[in-house]
């Protein structure tokens, strides 16, 4: 048991960056919520390790759990809470959050403007180098839908970022 905990801690070390980056994008830049969800994801994964059959990569499996948790959190949050969070987030972004480059802030804003499924598909396929098939497994969506989300998301991002830079 202790040995497996040490092994699991190594898995946390190896995959935390990818999972947290994905969830931060999926949560429209709400870093605190994303990190909470990432912790919950790892704890849930620990309890369900026996269910991972190796059909998908461990990273995909983790992201799939994280995505479901993110969707639950989105459903659970009230409309007004979301509005407040969005407003606070926009204030943070306008203040520039210290030394963060403008480009990153523009990307976060543009990502936040996408619908959740498009945002997640773009975060997986463009930012995290997942294949469309892997992203389909993570999001629990048909392959064609994911491809469509990525294409539309990319176009919308390019449009938003082009406008921001133009």
């Amino acid at each position: 048991m202790r040995g497996s905990e040490a092994a699991f801690a190594r898995l946390v070390d190896r995959h935390q960056r990818a999972l947290r980056a994905f969830l931060r994008r999926a949560c429209a830049g709400d870093h605190a919520l994303a990190d909470d969800l990432a912790q919950e994801t790892f704890i849930a994964a620990w309890g369900r390790l026996h269910a991972w059959r190796g059909e998908a990569s461990f990273r995909s499996w983790l992201c799939a759990i994280g995505w479901r948790k993110c969707a639950d959190a989105r459903r659970g949050a009230g409309r007004s809470q979301r509005r407040d969070a969005d407003w606070l987030q926009s204030q943070d972004l306008e203040r520039g959050e210290g030394a963060s480059p403008d480009a990153r802030l523009a990307v976060e804003r543009a990502l936040a403007a996408l619908p959740p499924e498009q945002r997640a598909a773009v975060a997986l396929c463009l930012a995290a180098d997942f294949s469309h098939a892997e992203a389909a497994v993570v999001l629990g969506s048909p392959l064609g839908t994911v491809k469509s989300h990525v294409t539309r998301g990319k176009a919308r991002l390019a449009e938003l970022l082009g406008a921001a830079h133009g």
Binding site: R2, R17, R20, R24, Q39, R104, A158, H165
Partner: protein
Amino acid sequence: MDDATLKALLADNDLPERDPAFRLAVMQGVARRRFIGELLDLAPFVAGAAALLWLLAPQIEVYLRRVDFGLLGSLTVALVIVASLLAPTGLLTFRRMTET
């Protein structure tokens, strides 16, 4: 804006490769979950032992009244009962110590 530029912008994040604080928080959560799991594992045994004692209590009482154990004997009987109640916890502790 081409795919490569978009990809480069998206790939940029300030998360560290390793984050000991995050790992610690996760492992604390894992330990909490394991502890609760072990409590739930033990619950049926404890409930069974309590039910058994409850069922046997009248017989034990009759037996203890009939036989005069003396002080030492009564203490021994009390110790046996307490030990039988603590046995599941002791077994669990032993199992955890041997797995470390």
